[in-house]
């Protein structure tokens, strides 16, 4: 049933209610509107054995992997955009530190279509992709289907239906309807594909004034909304703040070394929840 009760609750409570050990969790945001604050709260609450799903695992997943939240990573491009590699992810893959990490690897088009299938209530999606590449040898959620009309063979990818999707948006109204704009990424699909959705927002407003290019997600497809100003920092929140590029560069240094990272993690865990 459509949910009419707005669930605007603090982030710590939302994470506690919605994200459980062993869940498949997608934090989405295509370089823009990355839900950093929610990821940090998941680290603080010491969630374990998560399957982390994200097209572009970058700093936030490097941090969560380094903190030991993840058992598995489902992704299509992993790096520190414009800076370099993800050292915590590499350490987990190569040395199993702090936990072994399995991977399930796709292309962007494959991941996007997996969310589309999930949002559409379909078990799989069809695309032109993967043909001739080595990815299908290593990823069992890639297969093929044959067109019943032309006989042509196409790629099929398994639907993604996360237990929880977490996204950050610019604002929500008091009923819990959410509005986001600028680069839209795959957030609508990731929310609609999820069993439960958590949205952090910059602010609550009385009315969601229509804006060019904005997407509105109705309250009844969202489990909880948490007000977290700056919740996407150090990434972008269009109309609110730009990326803090120094933080992206600094992460390269922090993350190279387990001990330096440990210091970062301790100070994060000692910080208070939003």
């Amino acid at each position: 049933m459509a949910k009419i009760v707005p669930k605007i609750i603090p982030l710590a409570q939302a994470v506690s209610d919605l994200v459980h050990d062993g869940d498949t969790v997608a934090l989405e945001g295509f370089t823009h509107l990355i839900p950093f604050a929610a990821g940090h709260e998941i680290i603080r609450q010491r969630r374990r054995r998560l399957t982390l799903v994200r097209m572009t695992p970058d700093l936030i997943y490097d941090q969560m992997i380094g903190a030991g939240c993840a058992a598995r990573l489902v992704f299509s491009w992993g790096g520190n955009p414009g800076v370099g590699s993800l050292h915590r992810m590499r350490d987990a893959l190569a040395a199993g530190w702090p936990e072994p990490l399995q991977i399930e690897e796709h292309s962007h088009a494959g991941m996007a279509n997996r969310y589309v299938a999930g949002a559409s209530g379909l078990p799989f999606a069809v695309l032109r992709g993967y043909s001739g590449t080595d990815l299908p040898l290593h990823t069992d959620t890639i297969s093929t289907v044959t067109c019943p009309f032309t006989g042509e063979e196409l790629a099929a990818v398994k639907a993604l239906n996360p237990d929880v999707t977490v996204v950050h948006a610019q604002r929500a109204d008091r009923a819990g309807n959410v509005q986001l704009w600028g680069l839209l990424g795959v957030q609508k699909e990731a929310v609609l594909a999820a069993r439960r959705a958590l949205v952090t927002v910059e602010e609550i407003v009385d009315e969601l004034t229509p804006l060019p290019g904005a997407v509105v997600l109705p309250a009844w497809v969202i489990e909880a909304v948490s007000v977290v100003p700056g919740g996407a920092a150090p990434s972008y929140a269009h109309g609110y703040y730009d990326r803090d590029n120094a933080a992206y560069r600094a992460w390269d240094t922090i993350s190279r070394d387990r001990e330096t990272f440990g210091g970062w993690l301790t100070s994060l865990q000692e910080g208070s929840s939003s």
Binding site: G82, L93, A109, T133, G182
Partner: protein, 254 residues
């Protein structure tokens, strides 16, 4: 009249050569970094109606400055249209309506296949790379692919460790057999020169050298017996306007 000596770096030559490969009115699927610089350079010089498309969902982007990342707000603000990531891949890239796609990689082989996934074995890699991103479908679906990467012996290999993005497979006819509808890599622009697939063999051969580079240098940085085109050209050096415009382009926040 005085003559000023113009100097440039190898990377600048590579960017300029890439920008020259774009024709006015084309649509171009652009990645951050050198491709974005080259495409925006072309748009400022000989191709004012070049249509730039970024995988974050912006169509007809006309940024005043170079985007810092694929999520940069300048891409949305200066775009004719902003669409979702699924839409950019499904409605725009996949049907083959984009003329040119830029690719790069850690490894490229003699048939233009590209590796951005792992060096070494997939399960026990020597180096774990970022992975696919949008590259496999750019390689499959753009009408033409232009590869831009520095020519080094460890990168220009006889056979890639992992095929992330298909070039010409293992030879002529492979793309058609695989159902890939674009022409694949038609040109590999390096800091030394230009390689193009031989129509008969699909193998990359040297078709141009940048000013001041020798065949021996190019051969020394290529992991297969590099054939030299009988019509080997020399790339014109960067013009003053090209260098000035390239150097004048600021990156957002930079």
């Amino acid at each position: 009249m005085t003559t000023t000596e113009i100097t440039w770096t190898a990377d600048e030559m590579m960017s300029v050569a890439a920008s020259r490969a774009l024709r006015d009115g084309q649509s171009c699927f652009v990645g951050i970094g050198l491709p974005s610089a080259a495409a925006n350079l072309a748009r400022r010089l000989h191709a004012p109606d070049l249509v730039l498309i970024y995988e974050s969902g912006t169509i007809g982007t006309e940024p005043d400055e170079l985007p810092l990342s694929i999520g940069d707000g300048i891409l949305a603000e200066s775009a004719l249209s902003v669409v979702s990531v699924p839409e950019i891949f499904n409605y725009w890239l996949q049907p083959g309506r984009i003329d040119v796609g830029f690719l790069s990689g850690a490894q490229i082989d003699r048939f233009g296949n590209i590796n951005t996934t792992v060096i070494g074995e997939y399960d026990e890699p020597d180096v774990r790379l970022p992975g696919s991103g949008g590259a496999p479908e750019i390689a499959a679906s753009c009408r033409e692919v232009i590869v831009v990467m520095r020519q080094r012996l460890r990168a220009f290999v006889a056979s890639v460790d992992f095929v992330t993005s298909v070039g010409h497979g293992s030879g002529p006819g492979d793309r058609r057999r695989l159902g890939l509808r674009g022409a694949g890599p038609v040109r590999v622009i390096t800091d030394l020169g230009v390689l193009e697939p031989d129509p008969a063999t699909a193998e990359l051969v040297l078709t141009a050298l940048h000013t001041g580079i020798t065949v021996e240098q190019a051969r020394a940085e290529t992991g297969w017996e590099l054939e030299i085109s009988p019509d080997l050209m020399t790339t014109a050096p960067p013009g003053a306007d090209e260098l000035e415009t390239l150097r004048g382009m600021r990156t957002v926040g930079g």
